[in-house]
Subunit: 577 residues, 2 copies
């Protein structure tokens, strides 16, 4: 029954839903409460980071979580706005010249819809593998740089001033121009909130464990710092009427759930946001999948990359239509969800309901919430993103990887997120091509008394004047064919009595068409010099492809299963005239 299969494939909820038990509901409910308490203040804060009204963060979380619970495959992943994607959203929208806040919001909806459409399309076309083309160290460097930019962008809220810019240079200049307007009460609230949340996370957790709380409960409660900080700072602002002393608060926040919104699909807007939407989609997908994969391994579960794309696509389209902004799977909230015992995607569904209830009943109290408190929440959250160890690690392991990593870090900080990640992806590809473009090639000879062949430079081996035995330790493809042609020319030029070249193919995993053409050319060129080209120890899958080619048919020499056999066969030609 084809429709059945299709439904099952694209609606994972049918699979886990039919096996749902009461004990699952208990586990999922506990996790939902813990995650909702963590996610509500974060959602508000991240909307502000993206340059949008705070409530859009709630809408994004509610509808993102809802859709993912139907379409997603990970039982632990928690969906919503995340810091790096919110920063990229701000950068994408900041490039446009928009007349009003309403236009800015409309553009955000369009961007979100585009992200959803791109993710969905990639999923339906089964192009999830494209995420693999991003190198992990490059993404680490990008996330570290993004964390720094996010921190720098929040300084304005801590100081009660207004800065602009999407890189460190612009933010720094803007800060130096406006710092005279700093409000010390705002700063005090911000610093208090930072210290309070950190104490909750570290000090209080240890205290709770000491007085006999279990690990899981203490860990979960220690994540509630932000919500308490929100309540406490709001009360302080209300009681002392600090709004009149220059402390910026959220002010009027609409009550209840949003109506259906239709994004603006005018050609100019779509055209100018498309590239940003692609970058946001890919970064969001890669981040989300990394978390999902890590947590799935711990549970011995599987996740389906293409269905993950469908799930994230649906989440973003829903977020767009409900007046939210781009969402994806967040690292720390998913780990919290996992640790709190979420056993199915229903945990996300329940989280969604809890946040919706909060949006309906508690938004009026947000009137007095100081923006400095939200900035504090973000600053604590992103502190875990910043990790320079990748610089040290790549420096020690490979200078080429280090070059790609440091380029990404520097360009993201100095120019911005889009150029930074684009340059990083490009650099990691160029580095890979470069590293494989000069493969390790050994001229080999026989270790006396064995059938083994080793590098003539490192071992005492037997060679023959009329034979050149070459082992290439790399797949042959366009980026290294020219190097190998050149090397072969040089090696041949060194041996005037040469009659046979034997390529030992044991370490060759692939041969592309460029390389095949180069082999054909080499075969022809060597023939003109009365030198035969032989192959030895070609792997099965490669032989299957070579067998039907002109190259193999026209090969001047033979194809040997063993290199030793080849040398034994050919060495006696030495005596020939």
């Amino acid at each position: 029954m084809r429709t059945d299969n299709l439904f099952n494939r694209y609606l994972p909820i049918l699979r886990w839903g039919s096996r749902y038990r009461q004990v699952d509901l208990l586990d999922d409910s506990i996790a939902a409460v813990v995650v909702a308490i963590m996610l509500i203040p974060q959602s508000l804060a991240l909307a502000i980071l993206a340059g949008l009204p705070a409530q859009m963060g709630l809408y994004a979380s509610i509808f993102g979580l809802l859709m993912y619970s139907f379409f997603g495959t990970s039982s632990s992943l928690s969906i919503g706005p995340v810091a790096v994607v919110s920063l990229m959203t701000a950068a994408a929208l900041g490039k446009l010249t928009l007349a009003s806040d309403a236009e800015y919001i409309a553009a955000a909806l369009t961007l979100t819809f585009l992200c959803g459409g791109i993710l969905l399309a990639l999923g339906l076309l089964r192009l999830g593998f494209m995420a693999n083309f991003l190198s992990h160290p490059v993404i680490s460097a990008f996330i570290t740089a993004s964390g720094i930019l996010i921190g720098a962008s929040q300084i304005q809220h801590l100081l009660g001033i207004s800065t602009s810019g999407h890189n460190l240079v612009d933010l720094g200049l803007s800060l130096s121009n406006t710092i005279n307007g700093a409000n010390l009460i705002t700063l005090s609230i911000g610093i208090f909130a930072i210290l309070f949340i950190l104490w909750f996370r570290i000090g209080l957790r240890q205290l709770l464990k000491k007085i006999g709380w279990g690990d899981r409960a203490a860990n979960a409660f220690s994540r509630a710092g932000p919500i308490f900080a929100v309540v406490i700072t709001s009360v302080i602002v209300f009681v002392y009427n600090l709004g009149e002393r220059g402390v910026q608060t959220l002010g009027e926040v609409p009550i209840g759930l949003p109506g259906l919104m239709i994004p603006d699909f005018s050609f100019d807007l779509v055209n100018s946001l498309l590239r940003s939407a692609m970058l946001i989609s890919i970064i969001g997908f890669v981040e989300s999948v990394s978390v999902a994969q890590t947590l799935a391994t711990r549970k011995r579960e599987r996740i389906d990359l293409d269905q993950e794309l469908v799930g994230l696509g649906a989440a973003n389209i829903a977020s767009s239509l409900a007046g939210g902004f781009p969402v994806t799977g967040g690292f720390s909230r998913s780990v919290v969800n996992f640790d709190a015992g979420a056993s199915t995607p229903a945990a996300g569904l329940l989280t969604s309901i809890l946040i919706a209830l909060a949006a309906i009943f508690f938004t009026p109290v947000l009137y007095w919430l100081p923006k400095a408190c939200l900035a504090a929440i973000i600053i604590v959250a992103i502190s875990s993103l910043i990790d320079f160890s990748v610089l040290q690690k790549s420096w020690n392991y490979s200078r080429a990887d280090f070059a790609a990593v440091s380029l990404t870090l520097a360009l993201t900080l100095v120019i911005g997120v889009e150029i930074g990640i684009a340059a990083g992806v490009l650099a990691s590809i160029v580095v890979h091509l470069y590293k494989t473009s000069k493969p390790h090639v050994a001229v080999v000879g026989k270790v006396p008394g064995t059938e083994h062949y080793r590098n003539v430079d490192h071992h005492q081996v037997i060679t023959h004047e009329n034979i050149l035995s070459i082992r290439i330790d790399e797949s042959l493809y366009f980026a290294n064919t020219r190097y190998l042609e050149k090397l072969l020319t040089e090696l041949v030029a060194e041996k005037p009595r040469l009659e046979h070249v034997i390529l030992m193919c044991i370490a060759i995993n692939k041969i592309d068409l460029s390389a095949l053409e180069a082999l054909e050319k080499a075969n022809k060129a060597l023939s003109e010099l009365q030198i035969k080209l032989h192959l030895s120890e070609v792997k099965g899958p490669i032989m299957d492809k070579l067998r039907h080619t002109d190259f193999f048919r026209d090969l001047s020499g033979n194809n040997y299963l063993s290199h030793n056999q080849a040398v034994e066969d050919l060495k006696n030609d030495d005596a020939a005239p």
Copy 2:
């Protein structure tokens, strides 16, 4: 003596010049005459193809050849304007909005200088390897498409009309609008010239051999068809006064050599030509090096890629300052040079002098040369560029390569040269990443009675419940780490009694930092499941890098020299509780 070395390195003429003998001079002189006779009409025709005055082709050849003979390393390469690069020049200049012919010429000089500067810089920075990143089948497809575009662009001269456009669509539309103005006398001259040159190449050569000429002499003479065509058609136009019957001729061509020109370096012009200059430089370099490499192999010589860049850079800068346009090593003229017996780069120097003499003494007779004859010369010349066999070949060998090749061909024809080659390069890189992103991975077991391990799917082998032996047939790098992580998760999920995972690394030629991090992560995740990760048969160069990493220090299992040893050691753990 450092300066001595530097001079020797950057001025190859010092090396071969000091060994120059009288017999070399004779060989080089003969080759120079043959090549000059071939190159003079081609240079004129290619300048017209680039949309420039005919004499600029002569200037480009004279000074390109001159400089290359000092700085180049190939004894056979013949420098000058070539068809594909001339087409790309026309496309690059066609994108600009230029007010007059003088501005068009000035922009050509700037473009040429930029090409020279880029080539020189790449050479001095020793970045010649960048040319390797172009896949040969993609270049073949690009050259075939360019050949078709060149042919289509010459139809106007054969018909005596004027068309515009840099792709087949625009050229076709333009042709259908102007074809009513076709001049039949012009067409007759063009067809006569095509047939005449073809007869010279094929019919006359066989005739000459029949009447006893040597192979070399007959071949050389058969290449002189274009110059005879030029003389004959010019005489016909002069005698019958066909200029008044609507046959377009070159008209006034300046006599003698040009003065020094200084290109226009205004920011806007440089900025809008820079990307084109990069593409032209790279394509020119790749074409030139391919020829040089092929001919060097035949002579058992070496060429130095970086010094080749210096040579081509100097040639283009000189061409620019002398009022020429982009030059590079041409395929057919280099083969002619080689066949005619050129023994050193002095052949190029002599060719340069001969063309200079022609520019001084023979330009007045070009007044009557019909453009249709030059179009005929180009059409015959490019007919050898067009080769669709790469489509068939790639289709048979690999569908992914076919996709890259056909994309390049289609986009070049339909949109233009720059988009075509850029898309081709990108596609070939994506294809390579894709192919290596899902590497061949085998779960292996022991062939009974041997120490060999083979794929469990294809062989009757011995396996153990507590051991998973995996052989990965590919280097580990960012594009395949995620796939391998996923595969490992799945394989582990299938074996509930698993205690040991052994990675057989015999076919792994490289491990990049992304892959190292993935291995670290896998090691940690498996540890949490009480499963140990072991390595076996790691190659020497890889072990040298791994030895100092945290991964290797924290590896839960062991590193075995032989896979069999690993299995023998670990299989008895089976009995453990």
